[in-house]
């Protein structure tokens, strides 16, 4: 069973979960991946069909460049909005049918580019946000394995926060 550790990434506002005590937290992991050219190219090569449906004729290399630009904008926004305690403006409910925040709600942040592929996923709690993961999303539904894994991580973090950080008999997926 893995332990969740919560890191404070922007003082008093933005937090990030880590599922690996010796590894990176999910916010660091997101930006490391989104700025790693080799890994991005490999991702888009693996998801060629989805990329083609998402953005016809876009090559893996150009998609990777877009990710890197968008990633930079996301980081800028997080830092700028934190200065006015407005991180909440960057997130929306994960469920598009919801239109307001509530505690332990699953939320998402999209990238800044038009039709951005980038997502940060988090759990909302009293105007604080705990990042549980991230993804490059090329499909409408969250049915791809890497997106289903993000749903599971959201569930893990939501459960952890609900239980005040106490671990229960919740079964952890080997992420």
């Amino acid at each position: 069973m893995k332990n969740i550790v919560i890191f404070e990434k922007i003082k008093d506002q933005l937090y990030s979960a880590s599922f690996d005590p010796d590894g990176e937290d999910e916010l660091d992991r997101a930006f490391s991946f989104w700025r790693n050219r080799e890994q991005l190219r490999a991702f888009f090569d693996t998801h060629q069909v989805d990329l083609k449906h998402f953005a016809f004729s876009k090559k893996a290399r150009h998609a990777a460049l877009e990710v890197m630009i968008d990633s930079k904008n996301i980081s800028r926004q997080l830092i700028e909005m934190s200065k006015e305690w407005r991180i909440a403006d960057l997130f929306k409910p994960l469920d598009n049918r919801e239109d307001s925040f509530y505690d332990f709600q699953k939320v998402k942040m999209k990238g800044t580019q038009y039709k951005s592929m980038l997502r940060l996923y988090a759990v909302h709690l009293s105007d604080y946000f705990v990042v549980s993961g991230s993804a490059i999303k090329l499909t409408n539904k969250m049915d791809r394995p890497h997106l289903r894994a993000e749903l599971h991580k959201l569930e893990l973090v939501s459960h952890y926060l609900r239980s005040d950080g106490r671990h229960t008999n919740f079964v952890y997926m080997d992420i």
Binding site: F7, E80, L90
Partner: protein, 124 residues
């Protein structure tokens, strides 16, 4: 407009402080010019390796550099010299001059338009 800070939930009071990512990005901001160009070259090199079915190790041997150095080059983190750029061009039979300018798009315009989008958001 600045919002009012809310009471931090108990479960977050024991969070581990970790602000290092912002410092790393300060470095990237200060060096973004050459880092972008290095990144574009990295992409071009990876594309060429794919096209020519060559491995990084084979290219490293051609350039007489270590595998570790080659990894740094393809990650786009290397402050490449003109000599190294020329050697890459010769080894791979590609031109890297145009590639270095592909980042010279209006990144600030994109960031500015995204700022306008966010300020219009209603917390949804």
């Amino acid at each position: 407009m600045k919002r009012k800070k809310t009471e931090k939930p108990e479960v977050l009071k024991n969070a581990v402080p970790s602000y290092g990512w912002m410092t790393r990005w300060d470095y990237r901001d200060e060096n973004q010019g050459w880092l972008r160009k290095s990144g574009s070259i990295a992409f071009a090199v990876l594309d060429a390796l794919d096209d020519q079915k060559m491995t990084k190790s084979q290219l490293a041997r051609k350039l007489k550099v270590s595998r570790q150095r080659m990894n740094t080059i393809v990650k786009g983190h290397e402050n490449l010299t003109l000599e190294t750029i020329h050697k890459l061009e010769v080894a791979l039979g590609i031109k890297l001059g145009e590639v270095m300018n592909e980042w010279d798009k209006p990144l600030d315009k994109k960031a500015a338009s995204s700022k306008r989008r966010v300020r219009g958001a209603k917390g949804k």
